[in-house]
């Protein structure tokens, strides 16, 4: 039998689907019987989904033209080709 500690140790690999079938099955058996691990697994998965779909820190649109030109201006003057 695996413990909640074992489960928590493997949680990251389980979420990223990086486990051998045998181990995944044993974790799933544990999940079926352990309410606490079930809640943690479910809420951590939801956290990951929310984060990846949140668009956090994204620039509102493709980097704005003035910023691109500012960068290219610096680069051209750095290599003296302007």
């Amino acid at each position: 039998m695996i413990s909640c500690d074992d489960f928590m140790r493997e949680l990251g690999s389980l979420m990223d689907d990086e486990l051998a079938n045998e181990i995944r099955q044993r974790l799933e058996t544990h999940l079926a019987h352990c309410r606490t691990c079930q809640v943690i697994y479910d809420s951590t998965r939801k956290t990951l989904k929310i984060v990846t779909e949140s668009g956090s820190f994204e620039y509102p649109e493709p980097v704005a033209e003035p910023l691109v030109q500012k960068i290219m201006g610096k680069i051209r003057s750095a290599c003296g080709s302007d």
Binding site: G12, S43, T47, L48, V51, S54, P62, I75, A78
Partner: protein, 588 residues
């Protein structure tokens, strides 16, 4: 007497007390390693689990194997020690002489012949040798024990030679053992012995390997018929390889790699290339260290250390006090030289085990030793390594390479294309670190300027976009340091345990508008300690692979994964208040 300094260890030092009980004295080979007590502890565990216990093979049979290997290797110290031990165990001189005579077809000499081939002429060793012992009635556990005793003998011989310890007893005369014919590799599909499937979940040594290496190497999976030996090996790996107080892990992995390469051990070369890759060393550099470390741009002192390790492994008869002196002059301390000798010995141990067990690589090796190179010659030439399927090891071509070539060709304006392609992504990393739009825009300009100025240094070993992210992370860290807004990035990861176990709503996204959700997540990510925030940004926002993210941050893959799950759990904890169903706990 030995090549290195010694110190007095306390009377009650555990392994010494155990040796006194077993032998009546502490053998010089262990006293000579007193600068590193942890190493002696590891060796005592190995010796205890492999040799000192009566198991399916008797102690006498195992001591016989150690004596035969020592004699075949012309190692006076070990030969004298095991000869004396067998005498004390009650073997008559007549029996001992019979044991040492060249193969006479008896069961006893079959065992010794097996061990000598494995240790001294590994190219003549293969599946047929295993079948021969099975035919004589030896069980798989017994055969595993002979292989282990042979590997231990190789370990001890290498330590004794490296340290130059003088024999405590008169050594017996050396014998010549007959040469054998090389065995074609094609006939050697392994693993040769049966084993019991164990999992990282209920077998502590496997959990340890999983945690530290990211996988359980097959060489350990093949020894589960003797689980207590696997435990001792895990302990030895922890005490000898994974410590960083004397030599660095990089230096030690280099020893493992070059010694395995010179021993023509494709399996161990593959494993230790992978370990170096996990330490952030590029594939090309790993290959270069394995094929010729002199061309790898290592520190001159490290090159000399590897030269000494190779000489000890391949020409033990030529290894002298002068070789140790060279390392002293190169600036190595006594305990560093000792650790290099012990690492060379550990490599010999692992190489012998792999060869004896016929373990197949854990992943497809990129470097193999072509069969024609596997010969019986004892000369000290570096074998040539062959790259396996170079095309296969490459994934999809990087779409940025064509543009980069134009920029390098003088078309500066083409760089604009790269800014447009990657600007948004790099901005996101910077914003996630700095949390301030103006500063992120400012840093974004720095990143592209640096990328342009250093474009010649981009060698295409990673994707261009990953290279840019690395520059962005370094730029962001510099700015955070400037604000003194950064905790240590190197400190050990603390344990993090979820505390709030409330059930979440089915669709938490429904409770907030997209804008509210985004600002909530941004605010909570910015509250995470920087080291957790960095891995979360790279893996969950930039969606780099674990290997790429580990490379960017200079972490091992297992360390990266450990940080990632802690970061996700911390964020989960911070969000419980927003997304939990009201009045619901796991215990409700």
């Amino acid at each position: 007497m030995s090549f290195l300094q010694q110190v007095d260890l306390p009377e009650g030092f555990g392994p010494f007390a155990a040796f006194r009980e077993t032998f009546g004295f502490v053998p010089e080979i262990f006293r000579a390693q007193s600068l590193l007590p942890r190493v002696i502890e590891a060796e005592a565990e190995l010796a205890n689990s492999i040799l000192f216990l009566e198991t399916e093979l008797s102690v006498t049979q195992k001591e016989g194997v150690l004596l035969a290997v020592a004699l075949a290797n012309r190692n006076s110290y070990c030969a004298a020690a095991h000869y004396e031990r067998l005498r004390i165990l009650g073997l008559s001189e007549q029996r001992l002489d019979g044991m040492m005579a060249a193969s006479n077809g008896s069961t006893e000499t079959a065992l010794l012949d097996f061990a000598i081939r494995l240790s001294k002429r590994p190219a003549t060793f293969g599946k047929a040798q295993i079948e021969q012992l099975r035919g004589l009635g030896f069980s798989d556990v017994q055969i595993l024990e002979v292989i282990l005793a042979t590997a231990l003998a190789a370990f001890l011989c290498t330590v004794a030679t490296g340290l130059g310890v003088t024999p405590e007893f008169a050594p017996p005369p050396f014998q010549e053992w007959p040469e054998g014919a090389p065995v074609p590799a094609a006939e050697n599909g392994g693993p040769y012995l049966s084993s019991i499937t164990r999992s990282a979940l209920d077998f502590a040594p496997f959990a340890f390997f999983r945690e530290r290496f990211g996988f359980v190497p097959n060489v350990f999976k093949a020894q589960t018929l003797r689980p207590e030996v696997v435990e001792a090996e895990a302990y030895a790996v922890r005490k000898i390889l994974l410590t960083e107080d004397v030599l660095t892990r990089f230096q030690k992995e280099c020893i493992l790699l070059v010694v395995s390469a010179v021993n023509l051990n494709t399996y161990c070369v593959a494993v230790h290339c992978e370990m170096l890759r996990n330490l952030g060393v590029s594939e090309a550099l790993c290959d270069q260290i394995a094929s010729d470390h002199h061309l790898a741009g290592l520190l001159p002192a490290d090159e000399q250390m590897l030269d000494a390790a190779l000489k000890l492994a391949r020409q033990p008869g030529e290894f002298r006090a002068g070789d140790v002196e060279v390392l002293r002059e190169a600036g190595f301390r006594e305990e560093q030289i000792l650790e290099a000798i012990v690492m060379t010995s550990l490599t010999t141990f692992l190489n012998t085990l792999q060869r004896g067990l016929g373990v197949v690589p854990d992943f497809k090796p990129r470097l193999v030793f072509p069969l024609k190179e596997v010969n019986l010659s004892h000369d000290f030439e570096r074998p040539r390594l062959q790259t396996l399927d170079p095309e296969e090891s490459k994934s999809e071509p990087d779409p940025d390479l064509a543009v980069i070539a134009r920029v390098r060709g003088g078309e500066t304006d083409a760089f604009e294309e790269l800014v447009r392609r990657h600007g948004q992504k790099i901005y996101r990393s910077l914003m996630g670190m700095l949390g301030n739009g103006d500063e992120a825009e400012d840093a974004l300009q720095d990143v592209f300027l640096k990328a342009f100025e250093h474009l010649e240094e981009f060698e295409g070993r990673s994707r261009f976009s990953t290279w840019l992210v690395r520059i962005a992370i370094n730029t962001g860290i510099q700015r955070l340091r400037g604000r003194r807004d950064i905790e240590s990035l190197e400190s050990d990861d603390e344990e993090f345990r979820p505390r709030n176990i409330q059930i979440w709503q089915d669709d938490p996204e429904q409770s907030y508008s997209k804008e509210e959700m985004r600002s909530l997540i941004e605010r909570e990510i910015l509250k995470l300690p920087v080291k957790y925030r960095l891995v979360l940004i790279l893996r969950d926002l930039e969606e780099l692979s674990s290997l790429e993210a580990a490379g960017v941050l200079g972490l091992s893959v297992p360390a990266l994964k450990a940080r990632l799950i802690r970061g996700r759990l911390m964020l989960r904890e911070a969000l419980v208040g927003y997304f939990a169903r009201t009045g619901t706990g796991a215990n409700a």
